[in-house]
């Protein structure tokens, strides 16, 4: 155990080429998935927060429930979608980083959407009358409320990032854990642990946790500074 830990630190300190490659691919996949989920989820959540339509309640419950969507099931669905005989099989995306990005963005879309809905719904309760008085319809209020809720929305985005960076089930099914191509930190940890290569697994695990810590610390610091200057 102690040996494995020392070997892990050596791998990190030496910026081992395989290690760096795996870390960069993981970041690329997760950040792309997060971007995709935000592009769809932020406006979608905002609309759900302020537009009233029949069946809104069940939709909200469904999206909340999907926050706990099992990654392996998300992976399986995307696998079926992208497999040769599937509806999107012609794209040839299966076992590529593109497939992993798609699977992860589906996985975290409900988180981003759901938290955005709650934030925007609360803001609308506070702003609604004033905005309507200024001549803003509900659709026009979406960008206004997203911008004014930006500090709270960061939490939702971070939760999405956390889920995407930590999951292994979806990326291993649609990516296939191919060395140098679709191997991410989480899939590599699973593989190396099963092979008994604890040093690499532990090194990757450490990096994964440090990255999560660094990103959350940065977001927290930026949020605090912004809130102080905005008096929130």
């Amino acid at each position: 155990m102690g040996d494995a830990f020392a070997a892990a630190l050596a791998l990190i300190a030496g910026a081992d080429e395989t290690l760096v490659e795996i870390v960069l691919l993981s970041l690329r996949v997760t950040l792309s998935a997060l971007l995709l989920a935000c592009v769809v989820g932020l406006p979608l959540g905002a609309l759900l927060g302020i537009v009233r339509f029949p069946g809104r309640g069940p939709v909200v419950v469904l999206i909340n429930a999907l926050m706990g969507f099992p990654p392996v099931v998300a992976g399986l669905l995307v696998y079926l979608l992208l497999s040769r005989t599937g509806p999107l099989g012609a794209l040839g995306l299966l076992f590529t980083p593109g497939a992993m990005i798609l699977a992860q963005s589906i996985l975290i879309l409900p988180i981003v959407t759901s938290i955005t809905r709650q934030v925007v719904e609360d803001l609308w309760a506070e702003y609604g009358e004033q905005l309507r008085s200024l001549g803003s319809g509900r659709l026009r209020a979406v960008p206004t409320l997203l911008w004014d809720g930006r500090h709270s929305l960061v939490t939702g985005v971070l939760a999405g990032f956390g889920r995407a960076s930590a999951e292994v089930g979806a990326v291993i099914i649609v990516g296939g854990n191919i060395a140098g191509h679709t191997r991410t930190m989480t899939t590599a940890i699973a593989l190396e642990t099963s092979k008994g290569n604890l040093a690499l697994a532990l090194g990757l695990g450490l990096i994964l946790m440090l990255l999560a810590l660094a990103i959350n610390a940065a977001a927290y610091g930026a949020g605090r500074a912004a809130r102080r200057s905005a008096g929130l």
Partner: protein
């Protein structure tokens, strides 16, 4: 100075509003040509409700709100409202004005000019870049009034704009309202402060339990109110 066709007079006919089967406002009729109208009445008399109905934030259960002037057909953006607790966006004072002006349909250049003019007019230029939410209560309310002024309304509704303010901030708000008087913008305002009502009112609308009991020129209302309810209100008593 006004190029827009006039939307006034405002004519309210048999206005009624109910919630949960109870009439909160009923058979309210009045006409406003201009000047400063102060709406008085006890808590729950329907003052704020009446303002919201006139401003179009609520739909009346019966009766009509009509803008009788030649521009009255398209009155939506020509009257503004200032709320008891100003709702300011989480951005700078100037950006709050720019946002309102964008909603009013102005192009980018006009927005900037108009926003700066509003900041100047209401003595807020030094606070332009400050986050609106860190301003004092009085400054926030003056910014809300500047925001209402910026869209060049012909009538401004104010719902207890000084209810949460100390005397100094209240004077600041009253001074800001003077801008509307100078420019001939009509004002309809509710207040609980009788001294303020005496200082500001050209005429008084007195509401009692959802009914409009008086629409009277201010001097006459304060000297010789027509109804016993208004007389009791002025003495600080409540009678049904």
């Amino acid at each position: 100075m006004r190029a827009d066709p006039a939307i006034l007079p405002l004519e309210v006919a048999d206005l009624g509003f109910q919630a949960d089967g109870r009439w909160l406002l009923r058979q309210v009729s009045f006409r406003i040509e201009g000047g400063r109208s102060i709406v008085l009445g006890h808590n729950g008399a329907g003052k704020s409700l009446m303002l919201r109905l006139c401003h179009g934030l609520l739909t009346p259960a019966e009766g009509q709100v009509r803008w009788r002037g030649p521009g009255g057909g398209d009155s939506v953006r020509k009257h503004a409202m200032v709320f008891q607790r100003p709702v300011l966006l989480r951005r700078s004072a100037r950006d709050n004005l720019l946002h309102a002006l964008a909603l009013a349909g102005l192009d980018r250049r006009s927005r900037a000019l108009r926003a700066d003019a509003a900041l100047d007019r209401f003595g807020l230029a030094a606070l332009a870049g400050r986050a609106a939410r860190v301003l004092s209560g009085g400054e926030q309310q003056r910014l809300a009034i500047a925001r209402a002024w910026a869209v060049r309304p012909q009538l401004v509704f104010l719902d207890e704009p000084t209810a949460h303010l100390d005397p100094a901030a209240t004077r600041g708000v009253e001074a800001a309202l003077e801008v509307f008087r100078q420019e001939g913008t009509a004002v309809v305002m509710t207040t609980h402060d009788l001294g303020q009502a005496r200082r500001l009112a050209d005429q008084v609308l007195f509401l009692h339990q959802g009914r409009l009991l008086e629409q009277t020129p201010a001097p006459r209302f304060f000297d010789t109110p027509r109804t016993p309810q208004a007389a009791a209100f002025l003495r600080g008593e409540h009678i049904d």
